[in-house]
Symmetry: C2
Subunit: 97 residues, 2 copies
Protein backbone atom coordinates (compact mmCIF):
# COMPACT_ATOMS: atom_id res chain seq x y z
CA UNK A 1 0.00 0.00 0.00
CA UNK A 2 1.38 3.34 -1.08
CA UNK A 3 -0.42 5.67 1.29
CA UNK A 4 -2.95 5.64 4.07
CA UNK A 5 -6.00 6.49 1.99
CA UNK A 6 -5.30 4.20 -0.96
CA UNK A 7 -8.08 1.78 -0.17
CA UNK A 8 -10.64 4.46 0.51
CA UNK A 9 -12.96 4.44 -2.46
CA UNK A 10 -13.62 7.76 -4.12
CA UNK A 11 -17.06 6.51 -5.13
CA UNK A 12 -18.08 6.38 -1.47
CA UNK A 13 -16.63 9.72 -0.46
CA UNK A 14 -19.98 11.40 -0.35
CA UNK A 15 -22.21 10.87 2.69
CA UNK A 16 -25.30 10.22 0.59
CA UNK A 17 -23.52 7.50 -1.38
CA UNK A 18 -22.13 6.09 1.84
CA UNK A 19 -25.67 6.06 3.18
CA UNK A 20 -27.11 4.40 0.08
CA UNK A 21 -24.55 1.61 0.30
CA UNK A 22 -25.04 1.09 4.02
CA UNK A 23 -28.73 0.68 3.43
CA UNK A 24 -28.26 -1.64 0.48
CA UNK A 25 -25.84 -4.00 2.20
CA UNK A 26 -28.31 -4.71 4.99
CA UNK A 27 -31.50 -4.60 2.93
CA UNK A 28 -31.70 -6.75 -0.19
CA UNK A 29 -33.70 -3.97 -1.88
CA UNK A 30 -34.69 -0.37 -1.31
CA UNK A 31 -36.89 1.77 -3.48
CA UNK A 32 -36.49 5.44 -4.36
CA UNK A 33 -38.91 6.62 -1.73
CA UNK A 34 -37.34 4.57 1.03
CA UNK A 35 -33.84 5.85 0.23
CA UNK A 36 -35.12 9.38 -0.01
CA UNK A 37 -36.73 9.22 3.41
CA UNK A 38 -33.88 7.44 5.15
CA UNK A 39 -31.31 9.84 3.76
CA UNK A 40 -33.26 13.06 3.75
CA UNK A 41 -32.14 13.75 0.20
CA UNK A 42 -34.01 15.70 -2.45
CA UNK A 43 -35.26 13.86 -5.51
CA UNK A 44 -32.73 15.16 -7.99
CA UNK A 45 -29.92 14.77 -5.57
CA UNK A 46 -30.72 11.16 -4.82
CA UNK A 47 -31.16 10.38 -8.51
CA UNK A 48 -27.69 11.65 -9.35
CA UNK A 49 -26.02 9.76 -6.52
CA UNK A 50 -27.71 6.49 -7.40
CA UNK A 51 -26.75 7.09 -11.01
CA UNK A 52 -23.12 7.54 -10.01
CA UNK A 53 -23.17 4.23 -8.15
CA UNK A 54 -24.89 2.57 -11.09
CA UNK A 55 -22.19 3.81 -13.41
CA UNK A 56 -19.59 2.10 -11.22
CA UNK A 57 -21.77 -1.01 -11.28
CA UNK A 58 -22.07 -0.92 -7.51
CA UNK A 59 -25.86 -0.77 -7.56
CA UNK A 60 -28.46 -2.22 -9.88
CA UNK A 61 -31.79 -0.63 -10.77
CA UNK A 62 -35.04 -2.38 -11.52
CA UNK A 63 -38.07 -0.51 -12.75
CA UNK A 64 -41.50 -1.96 -12.46
CA UNK A 65 -45.07 -1.13 -11.54
CA UNK A 66 -46.61 -1.75 -8.18
CA UNK A 67 -50.29 -1.73 -8.92
CA UNK A 68 -50.40 1.09 -11.43
CA UNK A 69 -47.62 3.16 -9.95
CA UNK A 70 -44.03 3.18 -11.18
CA UNK A 71 -41.50 1.80 -8.74
CA UNK A 72 -37.73 2.03 -8.91
CA UNK A 73 -35.93 -0.50 -6.81
CA UNK A 74 -32.21 -0.49 -6.05
CA UNK A 75 -29.95 -3.27 -4.88
CA UNK A 76 -26.22 -3.64 -4.31
CA UNK A 77 -24.32 -5.75 -6.82
CA UNK A 78 -21.67 -8.29 -5.83
CA UNK A 79 -19.05 -5.84 -7.07
CA UNK A 80 -20.63 -3.11 -4.97
CA UNK A 81 -20.73 -5.23 -1.83
CA UNK A 82 -17.10 -6.17 -2.24
CA UNK A 83 -15.98 -2.62 -2.93
CA UNK A 84 -17.95 -1.34 0.03
CA UNK A 85 -16.52 -3.95 2.37
CA UNK A 86 -13.01 -2.98 1.32
CA UNK A 87 -13.86 0.67 1.81
CA UNK A 88 -15.26 0.12 5.28
CA UNK A 89 -12.17 -1.85 6.27
CA UNK A 90 -9.96 0.96 4.97
CA UNK A 91 -11.91 3.55 6.96
CA UNK A 92 -11.71 1.47 10.11
CA UNK A 93 -8.00 1.04 9.66
CA UNK A 94 -7.51 4.75 9.02
CA UNK A 95 -9.52 5.78 12.04
CA UNK A 96 -7.60 3.51 14.35
CA UNK A 97 -4.48 5.55 13.55
Amino acid sequence: MKNIIDNINKAFDHRIRLGIMSILVVNEFADFKMLKELLGATDGNLASHTKALEKEEYVKVEKSFIGRKPNTRYSATKKGREAFKKHVEAIEKLLKG
Copy 2:
Protein backbone atom coordinates in the same frame (compact mmCIF):
# COMPACT_ATOMS: atom_id res chain seq x y z
CA MET B 1 -32.24 12.57 14.81
CA LYS B 2 -34.08 13.12 11.57
CA ASN B 3 -32.26 10.71 9.28
CA ILE B 4 -29.42 8.25 9.29
CA ILE B 5 -26.76 10.54 7.87
CA ASP B 6 -27.57 13.64 9.90
CA ASN B 7 -24.45 13.46 12.04
CA ILE B 8 -22.13 12.76 9.17
CA ASN B 9 -20.18 15.94 8.59
CA LYS B 10 -20.08 17.23 5.05
CA ALA B 11 -16.66 18.75 5.74
CA PHE B 12 -15.20 15.27 6.17
CA ASP B 13 -16.87 13.65 3.18
CA HIS B 14 -13.76 13.76 1.09
CA ARG B 15 -11.14 11.07 1.66
CA ILE B 16 -8.28 13.55 1.69
CA ARG B 17 -9.95 15.64 4.39
CA LEU B 18 -10.80 12.49 6.30
CA GLY B 19 -7.14 11.54 6.03
CA ILE B 20 -5.91 14.96 7.15
CA MET B 21 -8.09 14.81 10.24
CA SER B 22 -7.11 11.24 11.10
CA ILE B 23 -3.48 12.28 10.98
CA LEU B 24 -4.06 15.41 13.02
CA VAL B 25 -5.97 13.75 15.82
CA VAL B 26 -3.13 11.34 16.53
CA ASN B 27 -0.24 13.70 15.81
CA GLU B 28 -0.16 17.04 17.58
CA PHE B 29 1.29 18.60 14.41
CA ALA B 30 1.92 17.69 10.80
CA ASP B 31 3.60 19.80 8.18
CA PHE B 32 2.72 20.19 4.52
CA LYS B 33 5.30 17.70 3.35
CA MET B 34 4.27 15.06 5.85
CA LEU B 35 0.58 15.33 4.93
CA LYS B 36 1.45 15.27 1.27
CA GLU B 37 3.46 12.08 1.59
CA LEU B 38 1.04 10.29 3.87
CA LEU B 39 -1.92 11.11 1.68
CA GLY B 40 -0.35 10.94 -1.75
CA ALA B 41 -1.96 14.25 -2.68
CA THR B 42 -0.64 16.81 -5.11
CA ASP B 43 0.44 20.18 -3.77
CA GLY B 44 -2.49 22.22 -5.01
CA ASN B 45 -4.96 19.59 -4.03
CA LEU B 46 -3.66 19.35 -0.48
CA ALA B 47 -3.59 23.13 -0.16
CA SER B 48 -7.24 23.46 -1.07
CA HIS B 49 -8.33 20.72 1.30
CA THR B 50 -6.42 22.15 4.23
CA LYS B 51 -7.86 25.55 3.37
CA ALA B 52 -11.39 24.12 3.47
CA LEU B 53 -10.74 22.68 6.93
CA GLU B 54 -9.21 25.97 8.05
CA LYS B 55 -12.30 27.82 6.90
CA GLU B 56 -14.41 25.58 9.14
CA GLU B 57 -11.93 26.25 11.94
CA TYR B 58 -11.19 22.55 12.21
CA VAL B 59 -7.48 22.99 11.60
CA LYS B 60 -5.02 25.72 12.48
CA VAL B 61 -2.02 26.74 10.40
CA GLU B 62 1.29 28.04 11.64
CA LYS B 63 3.90 29.34 9.28
CA SER B 64 7.49 29.60 10.33
CA PHE B 65 11.02 28.98 9.15
CA ILE B 66 13.01 25.90 9.96
CA GLY B 67 16.55 27.04 9.44
CA ARG B 68 16.07 29.18 6.37
CA LYS B 69 13.27 27.18 4.82
CA PRO B 70 9.57 27.98 5.11
CA ASN B 71 7.53 25.47 7.03
CA THR B 72 3.77 25.21 7.25
CA ARG B 73 2.52 23.25 10.17
CA TYR B 74 -1.06 22.11 10.70
CA SER B 75 -2.85 21.07 13.85
CA ALA B 76 -6.42 20.15 14.75
CA THR B 77 -8.38 22.70 16.78
CA LYS B 78 -10.57 21.76 19.72
CA LYS B 79 -13.58 22.39 17.50
CA GLY B 80 -12.07 20.16 14.84
CA ARG B 81 -11.37 17.34 17.25
CA GLU B 82 -14.90 17.46 18.59
CA ALA B 83 -16.48 17.59 15.15
CA PHE B 84 -14.32 14.73 13.96
CA LYS B 85 -15.16 12.59 16.96
CA LYS B 86 -18.85 13.13 16.31
CA HIS B 87 -18.37 12.29 12.67
CA VAL B 88 -16.51 9.08 13.41
CA GLU B 89 -19.21 8.01 15.82
CA ALA B 90 -21.86 8.71 13.20
CA ILE B 91 -19.99 6.66 10.61
CA GLU B 92 -19.59 3.77 13.02
CA LYS B 93 -23.25 3.87 13.84
CA LEU B 94 -24.21 3.99 10.18
CA LEU B 95 -21.97 1.11 9.24
CA LYS B 96 -23.34 -1.09 11.95
CA GLY B 97 -26.74 -0.86 10.27
